[in-house]
């Protein structure tokens, strides 16, 4: 982990940005972050995925968010949410091809600020799970800055990083596509998902996460520290 990241993850930085944050982001920071010395069993996680108009958080926008909460290493389907977001600009053809979300779908959807207002309380005190987290962190961070004046700090588990560690440890040569969510799920005997959208990918990542934890420690007594990004 680089020095910059250490600073970004630090309590001092958190105190600093909390003072700048407004609205729901300020409330978010009122709740202390998950304790890294706790066991994973006693930690609550939020698996999240989002779909965007492109790959650059500075230029592109979020069009949908999906999440599900994990308590006591169980994926709680009652907490599933899928939120469409109305972007400021019209959807480009190239992004529609990827996520199949059309302008007409999002015409009546809330804007990103309203969506975050709904999401942030769900993230407070929890640990983010994402498959390739820089995307989620980048887009959510940008959105928070734009809407509520400060970046987002959240302890994060990246299932892709965990998978990479597993692969390195096994010492086997990496096959192409080995780190794709579907392939990783298959290698852990998890069922395939036909649908692909933000929520299904969030659920898919949550299942993979459970499998990765079970592999490390079936009882879940593992410290959160050991798996954070």
């Amino acid at each position: 982990m680089g020095l910059r990241q250490k600073i970004i993850d630090s309590q001092i930085y958190r105190d600093f940005i909390q003072r700048k944050a407004t609205g729901p982001l300020r409330t978010y920071y009122d709740i202390p972050p998950a304790d890294p010395s706790r066991s994973v069993m006693d930690t609550e996680f939020i698996a999240l995925d989002l779909e965007t108009t492109g790959l650059d958080p500075k230029r592109d926008e979020i069009v949908s968010l999906g999440w599900v909460i994990i308590r006591q290493l169980g994926v709680d389907f009652s907490s599933c949410e899928h939120v469409l977001v109305r972007p400021k600009r019209e959807l480009s053809e190239s992004s529609v091809v990827v996520h199949h979300i059309f302008d007409s779908d999002v015409a009546n959807a809330p804007d990103i600020g309203t969506a975050l207002e709904h999401l942030l309380p769900q993230m407070a005190g929890r640990v983010l799970i994402s498959h390739h987290a820089p995307i989620e962190l980048g887009f959510l961070g940008q959105a928070c800055k734009r809407c509520f004046g400060a970046p987002l700090q959240i302890p994060t588990v990246d299932t892709l990083v965990l998978a990479l560690r597993d692969l390195h440890r096994s010492g086997q040569p990496m096959k192409s596509g080995a780190l794709k969510l579907d392939n990783l799920r298959r290698s852990h005997n998890l069922p395939p998902f036909r649908a692909h959208n933000a929520l299904s990918d969030a659920i898919a990542a949550s299942g993979l996460f459970l499998a990765q934890i079970a592999k490390r420690d079936p009882k879940g007594e593992l410290e959160l520290n050991r798996i954070l990004r």
Binding site: L73, F77, S78, H188, P191, N197, S200, A211, I213, A214
Partner: protein, 622 residues
């Protein structure tokens, strides 16, 4: 509902019994679920552990073992565990371990009961599994409100779970194996032409006749199939299927109608539907090696009996099933003895007498048995082996719960462990020079049934007994004298004559004053007419056509026997349900007026036929 949850709903719809629920319920279910993941080899539940969810296996597989480590089930995708916990206040009953990496969906107990209360067919599926109290030692503590399957009222046709999977007899073993794997069945019907049944092939055959014998997979299946299998009719009752399977020790029965196979039922069908299975218990005994472990199974016989009677079984059915279990324990102990002491030096047959011989055991009985050894028996060389065997088995049966016979009518007694020629001398003496006292003691030896070993040894002796007894009037007269010593409890005005004072004050002894006199009557009529059956029902049916008893008399006696036996069994079931030890002493007030009058009728039938017998054979010997 979002697409991804729809996939979970789709998954549920494909699996029984969720497929029984209406769409709106299924679609609402995913939101109530939690997903959990377990690595292969993880112990998910242990007995008495808190379990507040029903577990539905999404991927992977698990193994269920009872607290003693006995394997109960292997479950895979779409199957559920934690069912027992749903019916015992959230306490797991068994050990559940994952066999593969598994993803499970957990349905909260409250939602489970919500569905179960609303949809009887859904509850029914689980109640059978959850009501399977026999599988644990905790039965009596559990709730009893789950609907019991009326074993006697469900037809075989209702048990057929899926379409028949069949294969032409020209197929090879490899093709059959592939088909079984693809269709996920444990048994194939082998057909010839359109629908003529040539045989059946089971996974057991693959193991025993292919793998174990190193046979080529290219051999035709006709080499390993069971030709002309035992079958059952769709209109037969589930109960008949159970009996047939137990009797023939098979796990699959083709269902045939008008010469065509219409389905297949397996022990699993019965187990899933039928909470208490004698097949299961007998199979379990067959795998145990310690009499103390067998005792745990046999301890459940009272519970089994209760279920059978409550399900409407006749006393004859109940007797057959309960006896099947003591037969299973006997056979198993003999196998273990042969493993321990080596193969028998000369042929022998283990024979059961008394109620086990007649297949009329009830809750728990003592043991009556003997050994008939081949005449090549040389006491110098062989007596040690047979003594060791008999002691091992009799002691084992005592541990299992069939206590020593107070009269020592057991194979471990030297006198009752003899070569065939000595047994012939015994019977010659009893029949040709009867002594009343000796006869009374050895009446158990006139109800013999071979259990294990060289059956021809028994057959030869039995033929001799039957032919000698038929021709000997003096012997018959002595037997009659004995039989008449058991009086029925009726006074001159057809009022009950009850036991006075003591522990059983104001009761009727249904065994000694009801069942035993009929058994005696049936034995005498059978022996006098050369009938070789030993079961009382069979004896009475067989003697109907003989002059020694009127046809009406035999029919009346059959009815009386059933009525008294079932009254006795129901009395015992009530005691078992109360947590008391079953006995034979009935307070007549515990019966309805209607039942009381029936019971009086039954006793007067016995009384009349005893008098008729006395007249026919003449009273003597007493």
């Amino acid at each position: 509902m979002s697409i991804e949850l729809e996939e979970i709903a789709e998954f549920l719809k494909q699996h029984h019994p969720f497929d029984l629920l209406p769409d709106e319920e299924i679609n609402a279910l995913p939101k109530r679920l939690t997903a959990r993941y377990f690595r292969a080899g993880t112990k998910v539940l242990s007995p008495e552990e808190q379990c507040l969810h029903l577990y539905i296996i999404r991927t992977g597989g698990t193994e269920t073992r009872d607290p003693n480590g006995q394997l109960l089930a292997r479950l895979s995708e779409g199957e559920c565990f934690g069912v027992r916990a749903m019916f015992r206040n959230g306490k797991a009953a068994n050990n559940i371990t994952t066999l593969e990496d598994s993803l499970c969906y957990l349905l909260p107990e409250k939602d489970f009961h919500g569905l179960a209360d609303k949809y009887p067919q859904f509850k029914y599926f689980f109640a059978q599994m959850g009501g399977d109290r026999l599988r644990s030692g905790m039965q009596l503590l559990e709730s009893r409100d789950d609907d019991q399957l009326k074993l006697m009222s469900v037809k075989v046709a209702d048990l057929i779970a899926r379409d028949l999977v069949s294969i032409d007899k020209s197929a090879t073993i490899l093709e059959a194996g592939k088909l079984m794997s693809k269709e996920r069945v444990s048994c194939l019907l082998v057909t010839e032409g359109e629908d003529h049944v040539a045989g059946i092939m089971t996974d057991r055959d693959l193991r025993n006749r292919v793998v174990a014998q190193g046979r080529s997979y290219d051999d035709p299946i006709t080499e390993i199939m069971t030709a002309n299998p035992i079958s059952i009719h769709p209109d037969d009752y589930a109960f008949d299927a159970l009996l047939t399977m137990t009797r023939h020790n098979v796990r699959h029965l083709p269902v045939m109608k008008g010469g065509k196979a219409v389905g297949m039922i397996t022990t699993n069908n019965l187990l899933a539907r039928q909470s208490l299975s004698a097949v299961y218990m007998a199979g379990r005994i067959g795998k145990l090696t310690d009499p103390a472990d067998m005792a745990k199974v046999i301890k459940q016989v009272p519970e089994l009996l209760s279920h059978l009677i409550e399900a409407g079984a006749t006393s004859q059915n109940a007797g057959h099933i309960v006896t099947t279990l003591s037969d299973a324990a006997t056979v198993r102990l003999l196998q273990l003895a042969e493993e321990k002491f080596g193969p028998p030096p000369v042929p022998y047959v283990w024979v059961a007498g008394g109620s086990q011989g007649r297949q009329e055991q009830t809750a728990l009985s003592d043991q009556d048995n003997c050994l008939i050894i081949d005449d090549t028996y040389d006491p110098e060389q062989h007596s040690d082996w047979f003594k060791a065997l008999a002691e091992f088995v009799c002691d084992g049966l005592n541990t299992v719960g069939y206590v020593y016979c107070p009269g020592e009518m057991m194979a471990k007694t030297d006198q009752w462990r003899q070569p065939a020629r000595v047994w012939q001398q015994y019977f010659n003496k009893w029949i040709e020079q009867p002594e009343p006292k000796a006869l009374m003691l050895c009446s158990v030896w006139f109800d013999l049934r071979p259990i294990h070993g060289t059956k021809s040894l028994f057959d030869n002796l039995h033929r001799l007994i039957v032919s000698k007894a038929r021709d000997n009037r003096i012997f018959q007269a002595y037997m009659v004298g004995n039989a008449l010593t058991h009086h029925v409890p009726l006074g001159f005005f057809k009022n009950f004559v009850m036991i006075r004072g003591g522990e059983h004050d104001s009761t009727l002894d249904l065994k000694h004053n009801g069942v035993v006199p009929i058994v005696d009557l049936a034995r005498i009529h059978a022996l006098a007419n050369g009938v070789d059956a030993v079961n009382t029902f069979e004896r009475l049916h067989a003697v109907k056509s003989f002059p020694s008893i009127s046809k009406q008399g035999a029919s009346d006696l059959l009815d009386a026997f059933e009525f008294i036996s079932i009254t006795r069994l129901k009395h015992q079931v009530r005691q078992i349900r109360r947590g008391d030890a079953p006995d034979n002493f009935l307070h007549p007030e515990s019966l309805s007026a209607f039942e009381r009058s029936h019971l009086k009728d039954a006793f007067s039938v016995i009384k009349n036929l005893q008098s008729a017998l006395e007249n026919a054979f003449g009273k003597s010997g007493t």
